[in-house]
Symmetry: C2
Subunit: 373 residues, 2 copies
Amino acid sequence: MTEDELDALIMLAHLGEPGDQVLGSYVRKRGPVAAVQAIKARKSGLRDGAGLYARLRLADPAAAREKCGRIGAQIITRGTVDWPTQLDDLGDAAPFALWVQGVAGLRLAALRSLAVVGARASTSYGEAVCRDWCATFADTGWTVASGGAYGIDAAAHRGTLSASGVTVCVLAGGVDVAYPKAHEALIARIADEGVVVSESPPGEGVRRHRFLSRNRIIAALTRATVVIEASVRSGTTSTANAAMQLNRYVLAVPGPVTSPMSAGCHNLIREQGAILASCPEDVLEVLGPLSASIPRVGSDPQLWEVPHKVTDDLSAREMRVLDAFPGRGEVSLNQLVCDAGLGPMDVAAALGILDTGGFVKPNGMSWTRAGRA
Amino acid sequence: MTEDELDALIMLAHLGEPGDQVLGSYVRKRGPVAAVQAIKARKSGLRDGAGLYARLRLADPAAAREKCGRIGAQIITRGTVDWPTQLDDLGDAAPFALWVQGVAGLRLAALRSLAVVGARASTSYGEAVCRDWCATFADTGWTVASGGAYGIDAAAHRGTLSASGVTVCVLAGGVDVAYPKAHEALIARIADEGVVVSESPPGEGVRRHRFLSRNRIIAALTRATVVIEASVRSGTTSTANAAMQLNRYVLAVPGPVTSPMSAGCHNLIREQGAILASCPEDVLEVLGPLSASIPRVGSDPQLWEVPHKVTDDLSAREMRVLDAFPGRGEVSLNQLVCDAGLGPMDVAAALGILDTGGFVKPNGMSWTRAGRA
């Protein structure tokens, strides 16, 4: 990835409306640098439906980086080592870049994550179940992603934090725009102990349709989506639908048939094939081992049990380090640096992810291949 | 059906333990008369596992009829016009005879019936849902069958009665043995306004295993089984399993995941393919029109939507009357009596069932074929 490409992706993240598939398809065909050049020259042929050209004036990678430094955020772009590759399942609707604020690495956290979402107008039943289950998910090493909203979202983040777990909050506006305002302290705490992420540049406010685009990110980042409570027609359903389209598991928690806030969950189970989850173990069973891969788009949902190529989730850097391992026996960090032809920091970072994924394991000062490699 | 055959079936109902498939298979091969003769002569070759020979002394059709008269019950036997033919789906485990007490005709009531069953240790949530739904089922013309037990069963009967509906109570002991004792008044009221039925002769007490045999009758009599509340391992599950084996629909009502009394329902949905029912309409949708046929054993559950031959549920008498109808136009009762070669009372009774089933309809003093014929 060249500097020009990184700059182009940051430009595109400013120019496009989240989830714009026309722009996404254009960039896929041209490449980001040529695409940005054509847009700048007004020669892209793209319609200015979403204010593409108006935003050109405001999109400046250097200024964006400078702003990030000021608010303590990071920009990560497609194709870089920190990118959560499962977002590529979104195809032309995948984001070009993400703004991230927090202590946990998004890629690593998201590799072992599930989404827990639900109604804003939740009941005490739903909130109690949500807090409880999320604490269990955290205890078993899972990252809980949600949207930071009132009700179930907040209960999911709080339940995870209560068990000292990692939680990911995907915002519909910029990472520096706490929404809802009342959750400013909660979102700040998530940044302190987990990750706050957005595909909108800092300063961007929330708009109605961006909640829907945000929901697709939550679904794509995670291995499964658990709906705790939802009314029949709700934004939560959009997250569940996105997850289904992405071949991710969708689970729904039943509740009293007399509660409108469980009606959406019952619908998902009855009509849409969501799995009924009656306890956290039901969810953990579906998630599989922490180190398993996320079922990917294109795989037959009936065949989710059949593992796809286990290294599909690895970045080029991680593959390169893994390839540098001997078939058997131990290898030192120095040897890996030589054989992989990468800097020591790069190798160390890759080893961290390979270790988490169950591909390699440390053995004193050396490393060996592990079960999945 | 000759007098000898009726007597033999009544004998067999006294001799066999409910659901005894060895005896059932023997009777199927020999016919009831020859089977009883062989048993009497100790030449059946059947093992005396269930007290077959000890009961011989006590089994006397004439005495049984006399006793029935005394307690105001009726005996109906296999192969007679009053027999609910869907019980034949039980194969060799089908009862030989049923004792019936009540105002409603069992055959007609059961043609348009569903089972509503559940935990004895029910919660107020389950009872409220049950009463409510059963009142709706009654309002829409459905008969509700259940087992007269504490908890959900009682709520099902009471909810149906509250809407002046017909309810069928299938007892594990004789029809004159109210069980549980505390439900004596309820069971008497059911006999007054609906039907109380048992495959055990009057005077027979309940025994543990007879609850399981009784459950298969509830499942077989009805078009679908709705489980309102159930713990994970419970007798209710046996009714649901019997219904599934019989190709009947099984629906389960979800509840709070924090309630052990909903855990069995959640299991049925999650593990066994029961349909989640969140409102009475969910059940009615599955039941189809009142006049539809019960999906029968041997049909592919995937093909339940495809109607089998619609006259499969009709008795020989009803078929004979239906066949006497002209292809088009009206026919008088007198003409039907002539053409069917049956007595006026037989024809009138058959017309009642054919009318209920949507095969024929009255038109002033005459009759015409209706939609399904």
